[in-house]
């Protein structure tokens, strides 16, 4: 009896430690964003005076100020970032599902070799071919164009791999057979049957591909030079390289907030399925 009691006490002690560590890490993760929220609602002189835990009243002031800044085309950047990320998310997931379906459902010659090939190129980062890519884009006369930032996402080995794993567990081939007997065309089967079945996996991947495109800085900064074509990360880099002391800090915080919070808000609603997606991708990998 005494042993059981001691064990229980030890678990209780351990769980106190667990909560302390978790709360510390939560604090570490959230505190920078807390300061961001506070400071994006304060006037520049208030921010210069020092930190405060209470939000100010300058939210709309900073927002309007940022929107009307002639040197920072923020509205255009928001629009550009959104166009590129949304098109990327749709194209990547659609064509990755198609590639995954090709490997999963058909038994053609060279299938395993192709699958192995895609797995091998999965981890090669885009930076190492950036030089050739930028030169190619220049030759194609597509500098300052969104096409080279959108179309290449059709070949996305990681997204392919995730959806392929999902299909292995959730796509019974009987359904496809039945549709074939009904005389459905293969392409039609893919669009009307396969896509809906793969929807849960596609939904998770849409979020991942959207955010990674939204956050992407390296390649877009090499392709987009025109001020009207710039995306948010490029504006942030531009802000960083400008003479910082002259800047209205309220405006700076507001731009950072505008870049970060759209993703955070979407995440707040979908965090459960996103985390499940990360976990499933790993277990099945």
């Amino acid at each position: 009896m005494e042993g059981v009691g001691r064990k229980r006490r030890r678990i209780r002690f351990k769980s106190v430690v667990v909560y302390i560590v978790l709360i510390l890490l939560t604090f570490l993760c959230l505190f920078p964003f807390y300061i961001l929220i506070i400071n994006s609602t304060r006037y520049h002189p208030e921010i210069q005076q020092g930190f405060s835990f209470v939000p100010g009243k300058a939210f709309m002031y900073n927002f309007k100020n940022l929107m009307h800044d002639a040197n920072l085309p923020v509205l255009k950047a928001l629009r550009n970032s959104f166009i590129i990320s949304a098109s990327t998310a749709i194209l990547t997931t659609y064509f990755s599902t198609m590639t995954a379906y090709a490997i999963h459902a058909y038994n053609f010659r060279g299938r395993n070799a192709i699958f192995t090939f895609i797995l091998m190129i999965m981890m090669v980062p885009s930076q190492v071919s950036a030089l050739g890519f930028v030169n190619l884009v220049r030759k194609m006369d597509l500098i300052d164009n969104f096409i080279p930032l959108i179309i290449p996402s059709i070949a996305a080995p990681i997204v392919f791999f995730f959806i392929k794993q999902y299909m292995e567990n959730s796509l019974p081939m009987d359904i496809v057979e039945a549709a074939r007997i009904d005389g459905a065309h293969e392409f039609r089967i893919f669009n009307t049957i396969i896509i809906p079945i793969a929807k849960p996996a596609i939904a998770v991947q849409i979020i991942f591909t959207f955010t990674s495109s939204w956050n992407n800085y390296f390649i877009p900064s090499l392709i987009l030079n025109d001020a009207k074509k710039k995306t948010l990360p490029i504006l942030i880099a531009q802000l960083r390289s400008a003479d910082f002391l002259k800047f209205d800090m309220g405006k700076v915080y507001m731009l950072i907030a505008l870049s970060i919070f759209p993703v955070v808000i979407v995440y707040m609603f979908l965090s459960k399925s996103i985390i499940r997606g990360v976990a499933i991708g790993s277990v099945k990998g």
Binding site: M98, Y101, L131, G132, L136, F160, N215, I260
Partner: protein, 307 residues
């Protein structure tokens, strides 16, 4: 009958090739051809000196010799490794601890969903915005210094970005924050995949929690730990957005936080295609070796399903 069936089978399978066309067409045009041209470029002398264009002249492996004998690249490689290690070591340790706690049914952590949600969130944040945020927070008269002084921890502002350890530490801290949640979830999924009867048997034999973790959980997690290690190394080689924005591309103080990709970016902007090509080839070879290792751990894992 049998013949017809075979024929129809073949005609379906041709759709496998058709469905692969978009992927491979795009891959060849936008990745493979550029990659080959990178190799080609690496063999030429091709840069601008003031207004004068030098080259392209074929120089063989001269660019590689210059890169490897000149200490710049090795310094930046060292910076990259050091910053990666400062972030990765706490990341893997804390992630292992958290994963073990989240997977422990005895602990029954309350609000586990909330905590997981919070620690994963930084992974989705725009790295450049996050870095800009840290730049403002940790600037000489920024909120962190202000707080530390008000709390009496510091007497005068600590100049994080003029200090080697401060700058590297901040980059590593951001990398840590962005990745420890992701690693925790991967490891937790791994632990939950272990057959629970192993734990029960060990408990019946009187093993302590620590012993169970060391002798059962860790060895069975080895493949996934390896996967995390290698993918994180590949991510480390790609480190760019955070140090680039934090130091405005300079890698200051004194280039101690300049990474390999920042170096590459510099050559791309100055249009030194020979050097950029050679550096890209070296980075490609490094990542290719690591990718092969990932490939083997992944394919082994899907065969064995956690051994």
């Amino acid at each position: 009958m049998a013949k017809r069936r075979k024929k129809s089978c073949v005609s379906y399978n041709k759709w496998g090739y058709i469905f692969l066309i978009p992927f491979f067409a795009v891959y060849i045009v936008f990745s493979l051809v550029p990659l080959i041209s990178v190799f080609y470029n690496s063999l030429f002398e091709n840069y601008r000196s003031g207004l004068k264009q030098i080259g392209p002249n074929f120089v063989g492996l001269q660019n590689f010799k210059t890169l490897l004998s000149n200490s710049d690249m090795l310094t930046f490689a060292k910076n990259t490794i050091v910053i990666w290690l400062i972030g990765f070591i706490p990341q893997i340790l804390i992630s292992l601890l958290l994963a073990a706690w989240f997977a422990n049914t005895r602990l029954r952590i309350r609000a586990a969903g909330f905590f997981k949600g919070v620690i994963y969130m930084p992974n989705l944040i725009m790295a450049s915005a996050f870095s800009m945020l840290f730049f403002t927070l940790f600037s000489d008269n920024g909120p962190i210094n202000d707080l530390l002084i008000k709390m009496g921890i510091l007497d005068e502002p600590f100049r994080f970005l003029s200090n080697v350890g401060g700058t590297r530490g901040l980059i590593a801290l951001m990398n840590f924050l962005m990745w420890f949640g992701n690693t925790t979830i991967l490891l937790m999924a791994g632990i939950l995949g272990i057959d629970t009867s192993l734990f029960e048997a060990a408990e019946v034999d009187g093993a302590t929690q620590f012993k169970i973790f060391r002798l059962i959980t860790l060895p069975l997690l080895r493949p996934i730990l390896l996967y995390v290690l290698i993918t994180s190394m590949i991510g480390g080689i790609q480190m760019f957005d955070v140090p680039q924005i934090l130091t405005n591309g300079s890698g200051n103080p004194n280039s101690t936080s300049k990474t390999l990709i920042m170096f590459l970016n510099q050559h791309l902007y100055s249009k030194n295609y020979g050097m950029a090509g050679a550096l890209s080839v070296i980075l490609f070879i490094l990542t290719a070796i690591l990718s092969l290792l990932v490939y083997f751990t992944v394919s082994k894992r899907s065969e064995k399903r956690w051994g």
